[in-house]
Structure formats: structure tokens, C-alpha cells
Symmetry: C2
Subunit: 698 residues, 2 copies
């Protein structure tokens, strides 16, 4: 779907533009004129003949033509009628700036539903309500009441907070400029995903930067973002990452955010880069907007000061950025060009009296080294330093080399103008070396993410009918959990190994089952009415022979009859004892925004004490499952350490993929826990020793 009528309208009506300056509608009207919008701009206001010297119209019907875009700034109660009229007249797009909708309480919710319905009736798309508007500097379009027109640039900004939007616009005025700015407001119709698509298609946009507190349609977002991120880096600040933050979000937007683990998983699946804070969001956006993504991972630091170079080096270690080893030819060339006391190895220290020409020459030399893919140029304003001239020298060198170049000029007044020169000239200039390195690290992450193949969940051979039947039965019996026996059946239907076992109706059948399975076995009471078998003593473990099995049979059935006299007893399950192995946990949680998430972690204290678990959105493929296993801190335990053999990681990955397929196929499974999945040595498989499956309504 194209948003052309919204982002590149030929004509705009502003409903609610007042005779007097001030007021939201009039501010937008003035902003449109001030920005030099080349198309038609019509004020609409039944109580005015003229607005700012322009003929005013009483309603949409009276306009000389059907506008491409209607901007609505009338009190909330009057909005539905205007939306209705515009939509009916064939207007393709509207922006509702007015507040007083969902964010204002139950009555607002009703009003918001009305305008969505009225717009949809004739296919009109709607931005807002309760938003700051829309700005497209390249089209001289300022349909907002932000009071600021940013310079034209290549960063597209999407913000769920209008107030934060004003700060972004203010920031953009003194920096590299924007290709677009959208304040999403309540997202009654158009949402973040629509604008990701639109800005990805926009040639002026090189990076999309967003501030979000929640996401409207999780699965669509992941799909759209993943597609966009192949060509346009997406950098998002997701606020409300803490529990208290999430509460604050829901109190001020009325929308329920999913868990932060789900956002992490979704961003990872979508290839979205997550900024930890506003400063990082800006830094990453500027780096992507103005510099090429580095083609490799070798960074050179060029500096006139040792201390800041050390700080940058520390930051590299923290962020996982690699310092390039310079070739002997490069070091030789530097030796000729630089003063005797200079440091020739990376970081390259030109010393305190380095002038612009020395910087330029050094940048020329290192750029020729094939192991160098990016450069950070550091400068502190020492007595002989010429910040402005050095900035120009850096710009020229970056232009010539095409190598990813970032700068950090430390200080304030003495370097502020030089920083601005650099940033506006296309080399983002940071105040602090750590921030520059963080931005570079994001670019390197993007290089990896963008080249990663899409997840292609394999087709799993499964007995779906059997699973459906079990789930139907459980729902019919109004259980919220599937019986243990049936959970094993479900797992087996999807090829997830479980201990061998069979429900025996009598002692003879139990003996036969044990013979079939082989000792040692466990015996567990089998009853649709007994969920907590161990609570009534309904489980005996480690049975080694027939005699013990028969004794156990009597014990278990006797206990069941005595303690649960009304329970229907099917007999008892004879089950293989799972041999010892490394224990891991596989789980599924359903996030309200993103749907099923697969959880993986090491068992026991690793989960309980160290919280060493990781989440991914379903569906998974084998490659992603392996990355998932590798991503936990304790992954080394599975690789084999302290003399242990490597565990069967492939078998774990296979279980993850199968669990993912299961919960994708059956949305009614709201919870699943394999705890433990017992993993044998490499090549020997893994067995789901205990499975619990929770089901929801529907």
C-alpha cells in the first residue's frame, strides 16, 4: 500500500485553521505556508472567510477540489463528522492532530472507534489521532504543529511520543537533517509498520530511527521490518524496558506493551538495531545516514592525544570492535610522514601539535591498507590545534577514501563549530569517543544482520491430527494442562524424543511393558483425575526388576485408591528411566504482542539463580536454534569442558525447531515446558524427560 497521498500530497486542507495566529490548526496552516509547500493549501473553518490572507472554506464539500490530504485540528467531539465528510468525499489520507481519544479514557475510546470506522468506510487512511503531525523536508511539507522545520537529510524519524519528537526536531536542526518525521499518536489506523514500508521505499531515506513504547501488530512488524532492514538500517529505542518503565508506558498511552524479552527476540528476528538510550539512537542514526556501512571489521584510530585513544580502545573492547593490525607498508609510510615520537601502530598518535595536513596525510596512508575498513579520528583542542581546518581536512579525506569515517572532537566551545562542520559535511562528529565506537559497533552489527539469510523453518513431518485430537479432548474436559501421558504423545507426534513408556492396565501388562522397554523403569499412576502424581505418592523411580515392579504396582495403585477414592484409574504408566546427562530447559511463552516465543536455558540453578536463558520468536530454523544455544553464558558447558565430552547440541537444536513448529501449528498451546531435556554426548541424542503443556481458550 502506498502512502503517497499522505507523504507527497498535491493539495492539503487544514480543518480548524483559525483566523487568529496560535491554536493548533492555524499553526499547521502557517507551518505549511512557511515551509513553502508547492501545492494547494486550503483552510477550512465555517467561522472564517479568510485565514492569513487566504480564502477560507466552510467545509470539505466547498473546496475547489478533493484534497489529497486533510489535516484535522478540531475538538475531539467534532472529529468524527469531519473524518466522515472527508472520507465520503474521496479524500485518500487524513491526519488527526486532536487529542481526547483513546488516551483520554472510555469516551475517547468510543470516539476513536468511530473515526476508524468512518475512514475505513471509504478507504481513507488515517495518521493519529493525538499526534504532532508529519514533516517531509524534501517536499517542503510541514503538516505539524511542532513549530520547527528540520533541514533536509536522510534520517527518517518515527516517534510514538510527540513530546520526544519535538526534542528530535530541535536536535535535527543543528545536525544532519531529516528525510521525514512522523508522530504516530494513537495509531488508530496507520502504525510504525506502515511507515517502515513507506520510508524504506523512499530514496532520500538512508536510515529509519524510531522511538516506540509498544508495537501495534507484532507479527506484521517483524515481517515488514525484516524486509526493510535488508536495504535500510532500522534503529529503534524501545522505552519501557524495565518493569517500572512498562507501567509508566501503559499509564500514559493506555497500551499494553509485551515483555522486554519479547522485544529483544523480535528485534533480533527482524534485524532491527536496538538503541539503549536517546543518545545512542541519535549517534547510530547519524552514522548510518552519512557513512557507508564498513565492509569489514578493521578499525584504525587516529588521534592527537593518547588519553582519548585509550578510552576509545577500551570502548572497542567493550563493544566488540576490532582494531586493525596495520601492514608493514602502512607502518613504514606512517614512519616517513609522522614526527619521530609519534605512535605508528594502531591507535596512531600524531601528537599534540598535529595540524590538518598531518591528519589528512595519515588518513590517506591508512585508507590504502586493505585491512582497514573504518577510521575514528580523535581530536582534543590543544594549544596548536586547528579544529576547523582539521575538520575540513577530514571531510576531504573521507570523501576521497570512501572508507567509513567517524570523528570525535572532545571539548565544547573550541570544537563545537568544527563538530558541526564535520557532521553537516557527512562525517558524524561525536563529543565522546565511547559514543563513536558504539555507533560503529552498530554499523558492524548491521553488516552481519543484513547478510544473514532469512529464517526458513523446515517442514516437520508430524501427526497433526493426533495432536488436534488430544487438544480437543483436553479442552472438552476443561483442563488448562494436557495430561502428562498426552503431553508425551504430542511431543512424539512432532518427533521430539521422550522416554519410552506405555500405560499398563494390569500387573501383567506392566511386566510386559517393562520387558519391552528394558529396566530400569519408573512407574507412574495413570488417571485423568490425578494431576499431581507425586503428591499422592503415585510415582516410583529406578525399578530394576520384575519383583520390584510388582511391589511398586501394588503400592502406587493402593495409594491412588486410598487417597483419591473417586478418581478414575487407568492403571499405571511404565516408563524408561532417562539416563543421566546434561540438563537443559526448553520452554514456550506466548507474548501478547509477538505470539509464541521459544525459551532455552541450562537447567536448575542456571535458570533459577543466574537467569541464564534466551528467547527467540517462533518459528525457528536450525541455524537460528544453534545461534540461540550458543548465545547463553553457560553455552560452554554443552561444548564440553573440564574433560567432559561435547553434548549433542544438534539434538537440542532439533528439539527447539520441532517445539517451534508445534506451537506455531497450534496457537491454543499457550505454554510449554520441557524441564529437563536431558542431553547425551554428541551423536547420542536428547530426551524430553518431563513435558508440561498448557492450553488456552479458543
Amino acid at each position: 500500500m502506498s502512502l503517497d497521498s499522505l507523504l507527497s500530497p498535491r493539495s492539503i486542507a487544514v480543518v480548524g485553521a483559525g483566523r487568529e495566529p496560535g491554536g493548533v490548526g492555524r499553526s499547521v496552516f502557517d507551518a505549511l505556508l512557511a515551509a513553502g509547500f508547492p501545492g494547494q493549501v486550503w483552510p477550512v473553518n465555517p467561522r472564517a472567510d479568510e485565514v492569513a490572507g487566504h480564502r477560507c472554506f466552510p467545509d470539505i464539500a466547498s473546496l475547489p477540489g478533493v484534497p489529497d490530504l486533510v489535516v484535522i485540528a478540531v475538538p475531539a467531539g467534532a472529529v468524527p463528522a469531519v473524518v466522515e465528510e472527508s472520507s465520503a468525499a474521496g479524500v485518500p489520507s487524513a491526519i488527526v492532530l486532536s487529542a481526547g481519544f483513546k488516551e483520554a479514557g472510555p469516551e475517547g475510546v468510543v470516539l476513536e472507534r468511530e473515526i476508524v470506522k468512518a475512514a475505513a468506510a471509504h478507504g481513507m487512511r488515517l495518521l493519529g489521532p493525538n499526534c504532532l503531525g508529519l514533516i517531509v523536508p524534501g517536499s517542503h511539507l510541514n503538516a505539524s504543529f511542532a513549530g520547527v522545520m528540520p533541514r533536509e537529510g536522510s534520517i527518517a524519524v518515527i516517534t510514538q511520543s510527540g513530546a520526544l519528537g519535538t526534542a528530535v526536531l530541535d536536535w535535527a536542526r543543528s545536525r544532519g537533517g531529516l528525510s521525514g518525521f512522523v508522530s504516530l499518536g494513537n495509531r488508530a489506523d496507520l502504525s510504525e509498520s506502515d511507515f517502515l514500508e513507506a520510508f524504506n521505499a523512499d530514496r532520500a531515506t538512508r536510515v529509519i530511527a524510531g522511538y516506540l513504547e509498544s508495537i501495534v501488530d507484532g507479527p506484521r512488524f517483524v515481517r515488514v521490518a525484516r524486509e526493510c532492514a535488508r536495504t535500510t538500517p532500522i534503529v529503534l529505542l524501545k522505552a519501557g524496558s524495565s518493569e517500572a518503565g512498562a507501567r509508566a508506558v501503559s499509564s500514559h498511552t493506555g497500551s499494553l506493551a509485551g515483555s522486554d524479552a519479547a522485544y529483544e527476540a523480535a528485534f533480533s528476528a527482524a534485524g532491527v538495531l536496538r538503541a539503549r538510550d536517546t543518545e545512542e539512537l541519535f549517534g547510530m542514526a547519524e552514522a548510518f545516514a552519512h557513512q557507508p556501512v564498513p565492509s569489514g571489521s578493521g578499525l584504525v584510530i587516529v588521534t592527537n592525544a593518547g588519553g582519548p585513544a585509550v578510552m576509545a580502545t577500551d570502548a572497542c573492547a567493550k563493544a566488540g570492535v576490532t582494531l586493525a593490525g596495520l601492514m608493514p607498508e602502512t607502518v613504514d609510510a606512517l614512519r616517513h610522514a609522522l614526527p619521530a615520537a609519534a605512535a605508528l601502530y594502531n591507535p596512531v598518535d600524531l601528537l599534540g601539535d598535529a595540524g590538518p595536513e598531518l591528519y589528512a596525510e595519515t588518513l590517506r596512508i591508512v585508507a590504502r591498507d586493505p585491512g582497514v575498513h573504518s577510521v575514528l579520528v580523535l581530536l582534543t583542542p590543544q594549544a596548536p590545534t586547528l579544529p576547523k581546518e582539521t575538520a575540513h581536512a577530514i571531510l576531504a579525506a573521507a570523501e576521497a577514501s570512501k572508507i567509513t569515517t567517524l570523528a570525535c572532537f572532545m571539548g565544547e566551545a573550541a570544537v563545537e563549530a568544527a563538530r558541526r562542520t564535520l557532521t553537516r559535511g557527512g562525517v558524524p562528529a561525536f563529543r565522546y569517543p565511547e559514543r563513536a565506537i558504539d555507533a560503529l559497533a552498530a554499523m558492524e552489527r548491521y553488516r552481519t544482520l543484513a547478510s544473514r539469510p532469512a529464517i526458513e523453518p523446515p517442514v516437520i513431518e508430524a501427526d497433526r491430527d493426533a495432536v488436534a485430537a488430544i487438544l480437543d479432548e483436553a479442552r472438552a474436559a476443561r483442563r488448562s494442562f494436557v495430561l502428562e501421558e498426552h503431553a508425551s504423545d504430542i511431543a512424539r507426534a512432532y518427533g521430539i524424543p521422550t522416554p519410552r513408556g506405555a500405560v499398563a492396565a494390569d500387573r501383567a501388562a506392566a511386566l510386559a511393558a517393562a520387558k519391552e522397554i528394558g529396566y530400569p523403569v519408573a512407574l507412574k499412576i495413570a488417571s485423568p483425575d490425578i494431576l499431581h502424581k507425586s503428591d499422592i505418592g503415585g510415582i516410583v523411580l529406578g525399578i530394576e526388576d520384575d519383583a520390584t515392579l510388582l511391589r511398586a504396582w501394588d503400592t502406587v495403585l493402593d495409594r491412588a485408591h486410598r487417597r483419591m477414592p473417586d478418581a478414575a484409574i487407568w492403571g499405571a504408566m511404565v516408563q524408561q528411566m532417562v539416563p543421566a546427562g546434561r540438563e537443559v530447559i526448553v520452554g514456550v511463552e506466548r507474548d501478547p504482542t509477538f505470539g509464541p516465543m521459544i525459551m532455552f536455558g541450562l537447567g536448575g540453578i542456571y535458570v533459577e539463580l543466574l537467569h541464564d536463558v534466551t528467547f527467540r520468536l517462533a518459528p525457528l530454523d536450525g541455524a537460528e536454534a544453534r545461534r540461540m544455544i550458543e548465545s547463553i553464558n553457560g553455552a560452554g558447558l554443552l561444548r564440553g569442558m573440564r574433560g567432559a565430552k561435547p553434548a549433542d547440541v544438534e539434538a537440542v537444536a532439533d528439539v527447539l525447531v520441532r517445539v517451534s513448529a508445534l506451537v506455531t501449528d497450534f496457537p491454543e498451546i499457550v505454554e510449554l515446558d520441557i524441564n529437563p531435556l536431558v542431553v547425551a554426548d554428541r551423536g547420542q541424542g536428547a530426551v524430553a524427560a518431563d513435558i508440561r503443556i498448557g492450553i488456552g481458550g479458543s
Copy 2:
């Protein structure tokens, strides 16, 4: 020792001030005059009669008096003579700006030694060489060639990097100002500890902020910093925290930094706050300089924008800052004062059209709440916002309430002036909410640190002579490790529990020892020549009775005789088998800067895979040992979880304190490992099952 002659000189000679402007000496001379230094300033230069209209003197002897301070800016080779002359003339202090000393290679090292000797000969103190100089704005003293005079303020800056110093000075010009600035240079004489003492004694200084790459005298630094930190917060950026960073440090300063774990431990012992990066250093310094340390941990966020408040809330969760729960009276008062749609609970959202008066009224109301100890005031520049007026309202409210107040005005041009107004007026104003919260978190850490009692290592009853004898014997035998039997003796001499055991010379003695100890026991070959007993099969574990013991005796001795025919055999050690328990590790490493560090962690994979260990400087007391145990991620395992009883944490703390006393008493112990220390349930003690003690020369 007082540095008055350096920091508050009455007269200054500048040796090397040239006739023509430019050059280091002349720059300092000009800077002194420009700053309006009220005392005498004499240029010294044999090749000039007059410098900048002032009479010039050929040497120190010709001066009309003995200056309090000599600033030296002549080529390195000429410096020793000037230092010699000054020192002999009775000058108490000198600053050597000249480079070309230790940092320049072996010849420089020799020159540096000469000037230290010459200065010390007559008790002259020396700053530098290879430094930027010294600035004390309150005394109109600018003895530097930085080219910048910062405004007068309350932050004292100590920097090991002159180049970073220039950036700090530039920053300080547009912010809150400095009480002092020292560029340490090569620290041939005066070092960070001297200036910590001096600035702590200085009434104008409210916080000391430093950039360091290494520390000259670790133990002195810890002692001095701990004393200073009681009254003056110390915030340090220690660069070279990564391995690559540490290499970069040593390549550009020629000094060897200790390990980063040692710095962490030292800063923790000294109560020094560590800034993670330059930006945090500045933020923390400004907060301490201008605002009182909060008297409690309840923060209120007041905002005109929901999004930034969510970001601040997230930052609080990350940094461990607590949002205050407002009293019902406070909420009622807010309800009366604020518009209907405002958020009354913390964060308090005044909405986008909040004016200065609404901010002021809100600050007045929340300041009356006894649960509120600090306030963060957020603002984004929305259309109706008045940033400058709001800044003044905040300053007035902060002045009246005396409550810790920080501000964050997001944006650039629209709020830059207001941020400056706030910061200069005493309310530090940040660009990003996360930075403000980080600064507040540092203040709260300081409140805890400053009130923490000093570490008072208890007096340990110990048989020091026995230990000395063992160490002497091992040194005499040229061993780098103490024999296992002797390591146990050393431990026992300090009251560290070890398995009971005795060396038996024959089978009968072995039987008697086993009877005394009680089965099960272990048998280990005893020989001064066999260090790796298990390699030759010299250990048998889990011996349950006399017969098995005798068989083991024959086996062990036979193997020793066959495989090490030349070894002197003392017999074999009969040792108690340590009952199973939770295993932890206690270790000692000797850091080149800070001396002995005690290491604690859980055993096995916790150390190897998860690196879950912590370090503290020796000596420890019980309270610090307990904090140490609590500080590891896996501490919960010792508290008892998954049904396990709590472990004997007191016994572990006791071992830590005793190990700390041992290695403090005996510096020749360079390495010690108790692995594992087997910890029983609470009240049941802990046993050092295996001890290894490494010794160094001396």
C-alpha cells in the same frame, strides 16, 4: 605535607619565557599575566632583557627574591641544571612542562632521575615533567600553556593526560567551572595522591574528578583516597580497563598499569566512584559540585513529556535508583494544582503545555513529601514550552527546597541556553535522561560509601614463627611453591581449617594415624621431591579400613620408589577425607600496583565458564568479607536454594579474613589458592581441602 607554595604561590619565575609570543614558556608567562595573578611574575631567560614589557632575569640567582614556584619550559637537556639551581636557591616548588623524559625512552629516564634527585636534595617538590601545568581559578593562577582559563567553580580536576585536560578545560568554560586543574605529566615526584590530599583540604573544592591511566603508589592511593572520600567525593575515569586499552596506555606513557580487577577492588576499598566514560565523569562531577548528596533514595520525576519520563524510569531500574511512592497528601495537592489529564503519580506528568509556574508549584509540592529526597526535572521543547523561564523557576525551587535537583532538557538550540542557565545556576542540566539518572545513582552510591565504617582487620592469633620457618625452608630449597604438607601447616598456623592428617613414616604409624583421624582417609606420598603426587599414582582416596590402608601404603610407596627412584621419601600422609559440601574458591594474587588481592568465587564451572569471581584488596575485615561473598552472582547458592540448607557463610568469611591476614603478614607469598574450600551447612564450618602457596624472591 602542604602544597601551598605550588597551589597558592606569592611569586613565580617562568624559566624559558621567550621574547617573541608563542613557545611554551612565553605562553605560560602570558597566561599568568592574563589571568591577573596578583603576586610577582618574573621571566627568566639569559637571552632576553625584557619579556612582554617585563624585566627579564638571566637566572634564578639574579631574581629580586626567591620565588615560591618556578615554572620550567626549557629543552629537556637543560632542565636538570635549572632544577638544581632552583632547588639549591631554596625554591619550594617547581613545575616542569618540558617533554623529553621518561615518555621519550632510556635517555629521558636518566634525565628524569637526575631532576628528581636534584629537587629532592633541597626538598623542592616537583610537578611533571611532560605536563600541561596547573590552574587555580580562585587564585587567578594559570601556570599552564593550555591557552584557556576556566571559570571559578568547585570541581578540582586531576588528569594524567594533558591532551584530555585541554578538552576538560574547554568543557569547563561553558559549564560550572573549576576550583583547580592539575596536569600530572610523568609524576616524577608529585602524584595523584598528593593532589587528592591538597584538594580535599581546599575549601573551594566540592568534588575531585580525575582521569588516570595508572596509579603511582597503590597502597598510599587507597589510604589517602579513603580518607579524602569521607568528605570530598572522588570520581575517577580509569582508562585502559580493557587489555588492548592497557597496552595502549603502556605504549604512550611507558608505565605498567595493574589489572583492571585490582583497580575495581582498590576503588571499592577507597570509596572512589568510578566513571565508565568521559561523559559520566563530567556528569557525576557536576552533580556533586552543585547539588547536595541526597539524604535518602526516593526520586521524583517531574516532566512535560511522557516518553522521556519512561526513558528515565527505565534508566532508574538499570542504575538501581528508586522512584519515591508519593504520600496521599502529596497526590491530593498535585491533583489541585495540575490539569485534569496530568499524571499525579511518579513520574508526575504536567503535560505538554506546562509553563514555568506549573513546574515551580509541582516542585514545591513534591519537596514537602518526606519520602522525596531527589528530583529530576524533565523538559522537551514543545510549542508552548518556555525553556528559559522554566529554568529560572527550577533554580528558584531548588534553592528553596534544598532537595537534590537535577534537570534534563532534551533538544539542542531551543534548550541550549536554558541548560546553560540551569548548570551555571547550580542545577546540572543534562541532554539525556539516562545521563542524569547515572549521575544521581553515583550520588546515592556515595552516600552509602561515605557512611561505611573503615575496614578494621581483626588481630588474628597466629603462629607467625612457624610460617616464617616454613617459608625460609622453601626459599632455601629454591622452591617456588610450598610443599602440600607445609601449605596445610601454614593454613593451620593462621586458624584456617584443613583436613586432619599426619605424615606416617611406616605402616604402623599409618594405622595409628588413621585410628586417630577416623576412616575414611586418603593416603598421599610424602616427599620433598615429588610435587605432582597424582602424576606418579601417589594418592589413594576413600580408604575405609585398616586392610585397605595397608594395601594402599604398599602401592603408593612402591610406585614412588619405582617412578622416582632418586626421591627422598618421608613416608606417606594419612589425611581425613573432607565430607561433601558446597565448593568455593579462595585465592590471592599480588597486583604490581596494589599488592595482595583476595579472590572469592564458587568453584568449578562458575569460575571457569561464568567468571563469577570477585576481588578485594587485603586486608579484609569480617564485614567486607561478607559483602564480598554476597557480591557474586551465584551468592544465592550459598544462601540455600532448591531446598538446600544455607551454607556456613560465616566460616567462609572467617577464612577470607585469615587468608588476608596471612598474605598481609608475609609479602613473600605471591600466590595462594584454596581450591576447593568445602563449605558445610550453617554452623558446620568450612575446610580448605586443597591449598597451594606460591612464593616469590625477597
